[in-house]
């Protein structure tokens, strides 16, 4: 059943079009990879689905309800309670330890300090980085930082995790370790994942690929690939 959807979503940055009418359905618990060449609009689609950006035209629905018409405050609440977001790098607060970083979303949601710390330690353990709980990001490897960021994105047990090139800044092995754990935990928790990537080997972790080209859905399906039309000389 559709949990999250974009219907004819259009978005431009000034005069530069990013999305030219994208329709996508994401089912609950599904892991969807949004792929395509650079500049095809995949990050913009993620931002629209996550309620971070508001489309110029079209609709974004969450459990059948339009959210693109909601106020910034209401969308921000939705992101805090139902969504988790993971970017390529630079998301951890440098002054805080790993455990404090992971506890942060819970503290912002009003959870008590002790409960938040316990949950943070549990999630660091699940991501295999319990040993850096009291270490600050600057003293961690890129892979450790990204696992902490993943723990922080999952600590609120979101219904949907949005991940934008989450392994883009990591070497192959670290990237695969992060992704393997992310996918395994998402499946256990039945968390929906929208994963933006330009790499075929990363997209292969998903249940389904949505391939964008020039701001439009080229096609979607299991292991389908890019078409012949367009860009090829």
């Amino acid at each position: 059943m559709t949990q999250l959807a974009a219907r004819g979503v259009v978005k431009a940055y000034g005069r530069t079009p990013a999305l030219a009418g994208v329709t996508v359905d994401v089912a609950e618990g599904e892991i969807v990879a949004v792929t395509g060449p650079s500049g095809c609009g995949k990050s913009t689609l993620l931002h629209c689905l996550a309620g971070i950006l508001r489309p110029d035209a079209g609709e974004v629905t969450w459990r059948g309800e339009r959210i693109d018409t909601w106020s910034e405050g209401a969308r921000s609440r939705l992101r805090r309670t139902e969504f988790g977001v993971l970017f390529q790098f630079g998301q951890l607060v440098a002054e805080l330890t790993a455990a404090e970083n992971v506890a942060l979303p819970l503290l912002l949601a009003g959870t008590g300090r002790r409960v938040a710390r316990t949950a943070a330690l549990t999630w660091l353990e699940r991501l295999g980085v319990a040993d850096v709980a009291d270490v600050r990001p600057g003293e961690m490897s890129g892979g450790q930082q990204q696992r902490c960021a993943t723990a922080r994105a999952l600590v609120t047990e979101p219904r949907v995790l949005f991940a934008d090139e989450p392994t883009g800044a990591l070497d192959t092995l670290a990237g695969e370790q992060v992704l393997t754990q992310l996918v395994r935990l998402a499946r256990e928790q039945r968390t929906t994942v929208v994963l933006v990537t330009h790499e075929p080997r990363i997209a292969a972790y998903a249940d389904r690929e949505v391939v964008l080209r020039d701001g439009l859905v080229d096609h979607t399906g299991l292991g389908l690939d890019l078409p012949l039309a367009g860009g090829h000389r």
């Binding site: 393997t180 996918v183 395994r184 790499e199 075929p200 080997r201 292969a204 972790y205 299991l222 292991g223 389908l224 690939d225 890019l226 078409p227 012949l228 860009g231 090829h232 000389r233």
Partner: protein, 178 residues
């Protein structure tokens, strides 16, 4: 792949009979081209003929007699030599995939070459997904993961080539026919 040297390697830890060798091969080299029992015994016979292994006792375990084999000093030396020899890194471009695109461009046209490239890319993408599922399964052993990694890295390299070549195929065709 040299089945002889793989069997020598599997005997390096101590004598084993054919059945054990076949099982050890399948466990340590998952996703290798299947190795038949007949091939194991035939290879052992050749290794024995060449003085690289010797029979090391019979074993009867409810079934027929099984002959265990052990490495000789000569066999150990052959294994050492093989392990110490660097494989030539891609001395020839011996890929059917590559040859097929070249032939498609020579014998037919751009559309035919593109159709092949696209179909091949789909098959590669599907295989990539299958192998990713294998390596991320909670039951995957490190043997499975390392073997899947090898295949994934090669498929990924092919996919990059397929993507790039799709963009170049028209220019390439012009050059081939100029």
């Amino acid at each position: 792949m040299s089945t002889q040297h793989v069997l020598l390697g599997l005997l390096a830890g101590g004598a084993r009979h054919g059945y054990e060798l076949k099982r050890a091969h399948d466990a340590r080299l998952p996703r290798a081209r299947p190795l038949a029992f007949g091939q194991v015994y035939a290879t052992l016979a050749r290794l024995q003929r060449d003085g690289l292994v010797v029979p090391a006792g019979q074993e009867r375990d409810g079934g027929p007699d099984r002959t265990a084999y052990a490495l000789t000093d000569q066999g150990r030396a052959a294994l050492e030599h093989w392990l110490g020899t660097v494989e030539p890194p891609m001395p020839y471009l011996a890929s059917t995939l590559f040859a097929k695109v070249v032939v498609a461009l020579l014998a037919t046209d751009v559309d035919r070459a593109r159709a092949y490239l696209t179909a091949q890319r789909r098959a590669h993408t599907e295989r990539l997904r299958e192998l990713t599922a294998v390596k991320t399964a909670p039951t995957a052993s490190l043997d499975d993961i390392v073997a899947a990694d090898f295949a994934i890295a090669h498929l990924d390299a092919d996919l990059r080539w397929l993507h790039t070549t799709l963009d170049r195929v028209a220019d390439w065709h012009r050059e081939v026919h100029s």
